[in-house]
Structure formats: structure tokens, C-alpha cells
Symmetry: C2
DNA sequence: ATGTCTTTGTGAACACGTGCACAAAGATGG
DNA sequence: CCATCTTTGTGCACGTGTTCACAAAGACAT
């Protein structure tokens, strides 16, 4: 989910709808698996099942790329793998830097799926001087001071932010100033970036909260009619005693006017 | 992005649109920050800026929850924090298990944002017997054999899968069979689950691929007109020599008929 | 060749999400 | 109590995404 102010004003990027772009990697993964099993062709129905979408959607998605199928037969696996890879820009090398080598940053550095598809971890950067030189996933961590040098020296255009929330915006600004134009943000903050820079966000806590919402809904459906186990809640007085009191996280305000 | 066959057939869950639900955690985070600074009220304009959305959208989102604002003034921060928390089900405790304590699983276990909002890591589970008993983030890892016992014993309804792709579906099946109805999947696979189970997916590699697509597009715009640095690509013969050859990842098929 | 059968590619209808723009609600000052 | 000013809540129009359903393309057998 792109969050930064910038992510194409919903305009289809060169004719391919954003929703389709987001599914291409899914298709690619399914196709790669087929390719490894030396399956020569696949129908939209089969491939859709493997990718977890419905077949009409898949066909429409592919239609944006061109007419790559053969009626009565299906799609040529190898050919499609190549076309999608090319469309996604995976036929070229993408050097990536990871900033913030804590628990998460280190896990990302070790993540295999990174290297597999044209993404090469060019450098690991951390603000802690005592980390400098220490190898993580076989790559020595460098200090934040080197950030600009690393970016321009390696022609890095994609940066991954895995710092604490407080440092994220500052790191982001430096990355962008140094020439990075795509950012994958793991810090729980909204980043603001200039036009032309893409930001995508991965936020564990948000995902869990969305699940909790649905989970609660499911539970509520079973016990329908019950007015919820939760207290009726307080409506703060219009401008009255808007009493800034708050219990220690999770507690509820205790006013109850209007 | 929910992927499992199941994620409400696009039906608004009890009147609140899915897109709105996905933004509530964002608002909540911004509101919590304001609350900590003891700001009593906030306008839709200010809050929208803090959450990185536009104000009309925010007002419409809130309108699904009810009329919680005061015209001419704005929203009461404390009250709104409570209402959104309640709506998301964060006023109750959600025990969570993490399955697969590798690099990523361990990072997740250590992630602070977990505990902060009602999510409690009830157990860590791994298939490796040599991990059993070893504490990660202060919690002893338990063996997969205990999975069912742990789920039912703790009333766990949310599971996090951080195993290798190959094990994910199997783990998923066991979680579901044991009573889990919401799954956050970090493994790069499409999980299939029965109706009534929600799956959300977090996939690093997919995020990067989407960024690469846009990155490539940007680069292409600068050098407009250029027929792309990539070879024109091969169209496989209809049923002819569909020659299963493939270069070592990144190489391109070499046929060129039709 | 011709007919049958499979599967693609897409027009058209529909559902969903977004953003504008403004009326109505309420605060605030005189 | 009235006028003014601010800010919410929402009707409406528009764009995007999804799904259906079917004509046309091609494979394959006879």
C-alpha cells in the first residue's frame, strides 16, 4: 500500500492499471513454479487457481500486457515468465540499500527472496557506530555518515527503511536527497516525500488491527443481539469538561453527557 | 492485502467499507500521538495531514462510524481514540501465536508494536526440535507438536505464519483446524483456507517488484522514444518447438517465429 | 477441408472508492 | 439574540476495479 503523497494520482501507469501491476508478481511466482516443473503451457483457469485469483481477472490483466495466449491452448509458460519479468523491470539489476539493521533489518538482509529476483543488497546502513564493520548476512554494516556516498557510488534507486519510527523521516529525506526514488518503509510512520518518489509501506501492526476488526465481527455475529460486552462509551461534552483524562492505555474516558 | 479466497466477498463488513477499515489504524496512530501530547481536539484537516490522507476521505471514513465530530470545532481526540479502538476490537486482548521462528519470526517476536495494541504473543512455535525451550524475546519456543494444544489452551484466534514457503500451507491447515480464524502470512505462497477464515499477506518480494515496475517506468520516461534497452523478446511458436529451454534465470528464450 | 471443441480476449454492466463542493450545525463575539 | 465564521457530514459525479458472458481464434480429429 503506497502511502506517501505520491503514488501516481491513480493514473494508470503507462496503460497498466495499478491493481494489475500489484498482481503481476503473484502470477510470476506461480509461473516460475510451473517453469521449474517444466510445464510448457498453462490455461488461464489453472494459472488463476495457482495464483489465487479468478480467471477472468487474470485474462484481463494479461490483456494489458498484450495478446500472449493461444486460444484453445493457453499461455506459454516460459514466454510469459519473460514478458512479466520484463514488464516488472526484473531483467535488470536493482541495487538496494537497507537502513536500520536492528532485528527487522537483519532479518530482511538475510531474506533469500531478496536476491532471487534481481534485487541485490548493495549495502547495510546503521546509525550505531558499534555496528560498523560487523557483517550481517555476509555484508559489513556501514555507518549512516556514508549514506550519500553509498547511494551515488552504487547507483542505488531503491531504499528500504527499517529504522525506528522516530528516525524514519530523516533517513527518508537523506535517501531522497541522495537520489533514491523508491522507498519501502517498514517504520510505523507516514513518510512525506517529494513528487516523483514512490513509497510503499509494510506495517505489521496495521495488518493485525485489520484482522482484529474482522475477528471481532465474526465473534459478534455468533452472539448477535447482545449489545456488546464493551461499555456504552462516553460522549465528551460539546465544549464542556472535555477533561483530557485518559486511563493508562485501554482505559476509557469517563464522561457521559449529550 | 488479503489473498485467501476469503476476505468478505467485497461486501462491506457491517456497513464499514473495507478501504475505511484499512485506514482506521492509521488514524488511530495519529490520534494516539496527539493524545500523548495532550491535544484535546483536532480538525479533519489537521488529522488528515498527520495520517497522510485527504480530509474529505477522512470525514467520510468517520461518518461510517457515526457522528463523532463537532462542527466548527473538530473531533475530540480521546473520544475518537476510544471509538476507533473499540471499532477495531482493540479494547480486548488478542493472543497471537507466531509459527516459524527463523530470522523473520524472531524479528516479529521482538517487535514492540505487537504488544502495544492489545496483541499479546501467546506462544512461539517452531518445527526444529533443537529450538524447543530456547527463549526468543523472553518467550520459550515450543515444538510444532504442541500447536493444537497451545491454540485451544489459550483461545488463540490469530496466527502469524513466518515459516518457509513449503511449510506454510500445512501449518495453515493445522492452525485452522485448531480454531484459528485469522492468519497473517509472511511466507511467499498463496494459502487456501475454508470460508470464514481471513488471510492477509505480507510479501517483501512483491513490494519490491512493484517498486521496480514504477522505477523502470520513471527511467523509461526520461529516455522517451528509445525502444527500450531490452531485446524485442521471443514469441514462442504456436505449438511448434515450444522448446522448454531457459537461460539461468534472467536469460531470455531465444525463439522468434510468428 | 470442414466441423467440433477448447480457451482466449474483451465489451458492457456493475460495484467500489475517491474527491468536490456545499448546506447545515454549532461556536463565538458583540 | 443575532450575525459571522469555522468545520463537519454528505449528495453527487467520476474514475477504477471486478465480473459476466460471449464472439472469435485457433487446435485437432476426421
Amino acid at each position: 500500500m503506497a502511502t506517501g503523497r505520491t503514488h501516481r494520482p491513480a493514473t494508470r501507469s503507462r496503460g497498466i492499471p495499478e491493481a494489475t501491476v500489484a498482481r503481476l508478481p503473484l502470477y510470476l511466482r506461480a509461473l516460475t513454479a510451473l517453469s521449474e516443473r517444466s510445464v510448457p503451457t498453462v490455461s488461464s483457469e489453472e494459472l488463476a487457481a495457482a495464483a489465487g485469483v479468478n480467471s477472468a481477472k487474470l485474462r484481463k490483466d494479461f490483456s494489458y500486457l498484450g495478446s500472449y495466449g493461444t486460444r484453445g491452448v493457453g499461455y506459454d509458460v516460459e514466454y510469459l515468465v519473460y514478458q512479466i519479468s520484463r514488464e516488472l523491470g526484473l531483467t535488470q539489476d536493482w541495487p538496494v540499500v537497507i537502513v536500520g539493521i536492528g532485528n527487522l533489518g537483519a532479518a530482511l538482509a538475510n531474506y533469500g527472496g531478496f536476491a532471487s529476483r534481481g534485487f541485490r543488497v548493495a549495502a547495510l546502513i546503521d546509525a550505531d557506530p558499534s555496528m560498523a564493520g560487523k557483517p550481517v548476512a555476509g555484508i559489513p554494516v556501514q555507518h549512516t555518515d556514508e549514506l550519500e556516498k553509498i547511494i551515488s557510488g552504487n547507483g542505488v534507486s531503491i531504499g528500504v527503511i527499517a529504522t525506528p519510527a522516530g528516525a524514519a523521516q530523516q533517513v527518508c529525506d537523506r535517501l531522497v536527497a541522495a537520489g533514491v526514488t523508491s522507498i519501502l518503509n517498514f517504520a510505523p510512520t507516514v513518510l512525506s516525500v517529494p513528487d516523483g518518489v514512490d513509497v510503499r509501506k509494510v506495517d505489521l501492526s496495521i495488518e493485525l488491527q485489520i484482522l482484529a476488526f474482522h475477528e471481532q465481527r465474526k465473534a459478534g455475529e455468533e452472539a448477535e443481539g447482545e449489545p456488546a460486552a464493551v461499555p456504552p462509551a462516553a460522549r465528551p461534552g460539546a465544549s464542556a469538561a472535555a477533561d483530557g483524562r485518559k486511563g493508562p492505555d485501554g482505559d476509557v474516558p469517563a464522561v457521559m453527557p449529550a
